[in-house]
């Protein structure tokens, strides 16, 4: 899974040229990825002149996740062109969240490549101003994308419920796991690792794939936020129990604008769905 990002980008560009038919006005769109997999996304065309928004779902989820759908509806209603892709995670036409126990053949680079794919897809549609909106772990994939020559059209990043990867496992545990994975990789042990990862009690993946995600740490997150050339704004729920109590403070200490919606959970469910929508719309440019 150790692939050259430049090569991946070039391949992605070729596939974009080869898939003109994938473009459509709205609804479910599919696109064949450079890997040969077919990825899908929910696309809603907005008013011209307004920035396009790419909304990325959380870890192992799809674009049908409620928080994504709610946010997308709000943005689409507000006239934004919105695309909410479902990361393939190595599975063509994946349309359901992938359980932790499933075989995870995907790696962080694959995710970043697909993000880049959909950004270019928007750009190909003529959008020059693109706002990336992530939810939960999707924000980490967006950060990875931002750290690797993001498209110039990306003007703003809005992170909802930005995840701290060291909540369930501390740094030491993660370091131990990462080391174990590196050892497996180094000895070419491709047997599936079944480990606790993030909120998964049993995460099944080849060592290399999992190791790609293990490179993300709290520190890399904070550093990436701090070093991002694209302005980043974070929206957090006041009662998001998946984060540490000081997570918002840590973000703020790094100079990240954090909008906290009191009472909201990690998923902004119930009545906080509208607060989230309002916060997202307030945070977006052009309004």
């Amino acid at each position: 899974m150790n692939r050259n990002p430049a090569l991946l980008l070039a391949a992605l560009a070729c596939w974009l040229i080869a898939l003109p038919s994938f473009a459509s006005q709205s609804g479910l769109v599919e696109a064949r990825l450079p890997s040969g997999k077919i990825a899908s996304a929910n696309f809603q065309a907005g008013k011209s002149g307004q920035p396009a928004v790419l909304i990325l779902h959380g870890f192992l989820q799809t674009h049908t996740f409620p928080t994504i759908v709610s946010t997308m509806d709000a943005l689409s209603t507000a006239g934004y062109t919105v695309v909410a892709p479902t990361l393939s995670l190595g599975i063509s036409r994946r349309n359901k969240s992938l359980p932790c126990e499933a075989v995870h053949l995907h790696a962080l680079d694959d995710d970043v490549a697909e993000v880049a794919f959909w950004v270019r897809w928007l750009m190909q549609k003529g959008h020059t101003r693109i706002v990336l909106v992530g939810h939960s772990f999707g924000n980490l994939q967006l950060l990875a994308y931002l750290g690797r020559s993001p498209a110039p059209a990306v003007k703003q990043v809005l992170m909802i419920s930005l995840t701290d990867v060291e909540v369930k496992q501390n740094a030491q545990q993660r370091a131990g796991l990462a080391q174990d994975l590196r050892d497996r990789v180094s000895r070419r042990d491709h047997a599936l690792a079944e480990v606790e990862f993030g909120h998964c009690k049993k995460y099944v993946s080849p060592p290399a794939g999992l190791l790609s995600y293990m490179r993300i740490s709290r520190q890399t997150i904070l550093d990436s936020l701090a070093k991002s050339a694209v302005p980043i704004e974070v929206i957090m729920g006041g009662k998001d129990d998946r984060m540490g109590a000081d997570w918002v403070e840590k973000l703020v200490s790094r100079g990240i604008a954090v909008r906290v919606i009191p009472g909201a959970s990690h998923f902004f469910d119930n009545q906080y769905e509208f607060d989230l929508q309002e916060a997202v719309l307030q945070a977006l440019p052009g309004r």
């Binding site: 063509s92 036409r93 992938l98 075989v103 599936l192």
Partner: protein, 755 residues
């Protein structure tokens, strides 16, 4: 033959047989119904079984279809499952997925026994991935029909479907195969209604594949016992038994009711009617309920009882009538004594009672002397009273057990059983004494009433002997009545020689013939000597009838004549015969003839007319009419008138047999009599030296002094002739003077007599 058979079959049967037949028919019908119900139930069960079999097949087919549907749904779910597509796209970790995810992720049904994915060439992904292959390693993509195969004793059902990546199934990326444990699926998929799952067997060899479409026919199974039909069968049978028991109970009750309410009463009625037929009927009692249960039978019972009551009443009435009739038939209404019928019945009863045991019997016949004269003199009313008096006196003379019969007129009889002659004689004498002591003068009868008794005895009585002993007693009784005889006569064979002519048919016929033809009479003439002139003055004409055994004498003739009331006819015949003798001139001129005329004859017009025919002869012959005093006292007025007329014509009237009857001088003085013929018993008494001779002599002198001429009968000796001559008799008659002789020898006799 057939007719007789039908008649035999249709002959009357007791109603109990019909009731039993009805019960039998009912039971047979019940049995038939039971057979029909059981047969119908069996047919229904068979139909239901067939239906169940069909439904079981349908049920199995349905389950297999459901299983197929489930497999198809699983295939669809699998194609929608990202992880499955992931395996077809990148089967590196297919073993993990197949082992840890395929059947546990909740996408596929838990009933699935195994699942495997195949690449486009039909190769099992497991072939290229470590792991145990539970499914075929290779499928023929051109023929993916599901099939059932027997493996290691288990029956597995395999389904294979093409695996498309997209929902419109245009992008084939591989194949999927499912394996179901067939039997387990059958049991899990649904609850069978008709198939007995425990009995389901697949008729297949190990490793043999059976296409899905042929699975159901290859199954061996039993149908589940249909609870509804079983319940229905139980219900039908139970209902049938309940109905059968109900019908049986009703039939039994009906039979008992029929017996109680109809048959028994009918039997009683029938028995009662039969008893009535045998004359043993009684009133039918009503039952304890007060009446028979069946109205018609009760009506019959009441009617029968009414009829029975009427019959009983009628019977009682008939008994009374019979008794009354018997009494009337066996009793004499005048005297209350038993009559002739009772006499005959008693005789036969006595004979029946002693059929085999010889017994002695004595018959006593009583007859009133001169009753006819009493009856004619004093009238019938007095005659009846005399009869009653005789009955009373005779009854008083007999023992209480002896029955007295009135055989007719003045004739009475009694039968003495186990009695000898001497005792019979004593009884007879006692009867005579009782009669003598009886005061008949209370009825105005001045003359003494006497009876004569004839006694006959039999040592060994038989039924026929009644006629014999009766005849003998009759003969004895007439014998007793004869003048000069004792009033009691015991039959002896000697007296039978003359008397029995009385009842001799041949002699009776001769008498009748003589009456029809007077020439058959043979008149004998006995001379009567005039004592004053010692000349034969006239001859008494005495009748004889020639018979088979000689002449029939008057002693035999007159009882028959008197018994049959032929006096007048006989008088006419005799008068005609004598007239012819006189007319023929064979009677010497100057010689008189004495004619005997009976009592009835002297008052009979024809007899008198016949006598008047003698008037021309009076000029040449002396004609004497002899009538008995008994004859005279019968209708004495008419007799006296007739005799006076005849006397006026020139006839000499002689009173015959004076002294044998009443010998009433009162009568004598009032009658137109010229001669008085003393009875032979009186005349013979003159030969004896006793009071009677004196009395007879005095009587003769007294009558002579009264102006009558006297004739002495029975003069059989010279001494007696002298004696009567000395007593003043004017005439004498007897064997000493001359025996009766035919007309031909009359002259000779006369001459001799004269000489």
């Amino acid at each position: 033959m057939l007719f007789s058979l039908m008649r035999a079959r249709l002959s009357p049967r007791p109603i109990a047989h019909y009731a039993l037949l009805l019960l039998f028919v009912l039971v047979a019908a019940l049995a038939g119904l039971a057979a029909f119900v059981f047969q119908d139930t069996a047919r229904l069960k068979e139909q239901v079984a067939q239906s169940d079999q069909t439904l079981a097949h349908q049920e199995l087919e349905g389950v297999i279809a459901l299983l197929t549907q489930q497999a198809e749904s699983a295939a669809q779910a699998l194609m929608q499952w990202d992880e499955a597509r992931q395996q077809l796209e990148n089967p590196v970790y297919y073993g993990y997925w197949r082992h840890s995810r395929a059947l546990t992720a909740g996408v596929l049904p838990e009933s699935l026994d195994a699942v495997d994915l195949y690449d486009l060439q039909g190769r099992n992904l497991a072939a290229v991935s470590p792991g145990k292959a539970g499914m075929p390693a290779q499928v023929v993509t051109q023929n993916m029909r599901p099939f059932l195969v027997r493996e290691n004793g288990n029956n597995y059902l395999y389904y294979f479907f093409p695996f498309y990546q997209n929902t419109d199934q245009t992008h084939l990326i591989g194949y999927v195969g499912f394996r179901f444990d067939f039997m387990r699926q059958l049991m899990q998929l649904r609850k069978f209604r008709y198939v007995d799952m425990a009995s389901v067997r697949v008729e297949a060899r190990e490793g043999e594949r059976i296409l899905l479409q042929d699975v159901v026919p290859a199954l061996q199974f039993r149908t589940t016992a249909n609870p509804e039909i079983r319940a229905l069968e139980k219900l039908i049978i139970r209902s049938f038994y309940e109905i059968a028991i109900l019908i049986a109970a009703i039939s039994l009750l009906g039979y008992l009711a029929l017996i109680s309410f109809v048959i028994k009463p009918l039997r009683r009625l029938s028995g009662h009617i039969g008893a009535m037929g045998r004359g043993q009927g009684e009133l039918l009692d009503e039952s304890y309920r007060g009446a028979l249960a069946v109205t018609e039978l009760e009506n019959i019972r009441q009617s029968l009882n009414d009829y029975q009551q009427q019959l009983d009443d009628m019977h009682v009435s008939l008994v009374h009538k019979n008794q009354e009739l018997w009494t009337l038939a066996h009793h004499d209404p005048l005297t209350g004594l038993f009559n002739r019928r009772a006499f005959d019945d008693d005789w036969r009863a006595m004979h029946r009672a002693h059929r085999d045991v010889p017994f002695g019997v004595v018959l006593l016949l009583f007859d009133c002397d001169h009753f006819k004269a009493i009856n004619d003199t004093y009238g019938h009313q007095v005659g009846d009273q005399v009869i009653q008096g005789l009955a009373e006196s005779l009854h008083g003379a007999l023992r209480a057990d002896d029955r007295l019969y009135r055989l007719g007129g003045d004739e009475f009889a009694t039968i003495l059983f186990s009695a000898d002659i001497e005792r019979a004689r004593q009884v007879a004498e006692r009867c005579l004494e009782h009669v003598l002591r009886y005061d008949f003068s209370a009825y105005g009868v001045k003359e003494p009433v006497r009876i004569s008794v004839g006694i006959a005895h039999l040592d060994d009585a038989t039924d026929d002997a009644l006629q014999q002993v009766h005849r003998q007693a009759d003969i004895a009784m007439y014998y007793a009545k004869r003048p000069g005889q004792s009033k009691i006569a015991i039959y002896s064979p000697e007296m039978g020689t003359g008397q029995e002519a009385l009842v001799s048919n041949a002699e009776t016929s001769a008498i009748y013939d003589a009456m029809a033809d007077p020439d058959r009479l043979e008149m004998h003439y006995q001379p009567v000597l005039a004592l004053s002139t010692s000349r034969i003055e006239y001859y008494e004409a005495l009748v004889r009838i020639p018979g088979e055994h000689g002449l029939i004498m008057p002693a035999s003739i007159f009882p028959v004549v008197e018994l049959r009331g032929l006096e007048c006819e006989f008088d006419l015949a005799v008068l005609e015969r004598v007239r012819r003798d006189l007319a023929s001139g064979r009677v010497p001129a100057g010689a008189g003839v004495s004619l005997n005329v009976s009592g009835p004859g002297i008052v009979n017009a024809r007899v008198n007319e016949k006598l008047m025919q003698y008037v021309p002869l009076l000029s040449t012959h002396k004609l004497v009419l002899e009538v008995t005093e008994t004859a005279l006292i019968t209708q004495i007025a008419q007799a006296s008138a007739n005799l006076k007329r005849l006397r006026k014509q020139g006839f000499i009237i002689a009173l015959d047999d004076f002294g044998s009857g009443y010998s009433s001088l009162g009568y004598l003085s009032s009658m137109p009599v010229d001669l008085v013929k003393f009875d032979i018993s009186l005349v013979r008494s003159l030969e004896e030296s006793g009071r009677q001779a004196v009395f007879v002599g005095d009587l003769a002198r007294m009558i002579k002094d009264a102006g009558y001429q006297l004739v002495a009968e029975g003069i059989e000796s010279e001494a007696l002739l002298q004696r009567v001559t000395a007593l003043g008799f004017s005439h004498a008659q007897g064997f000493h003077i001359g025996r009766p002789a035919p007309l031909a020898s009359l002259r000779t006799v006369s001459l001799r007599a004269v000489n």
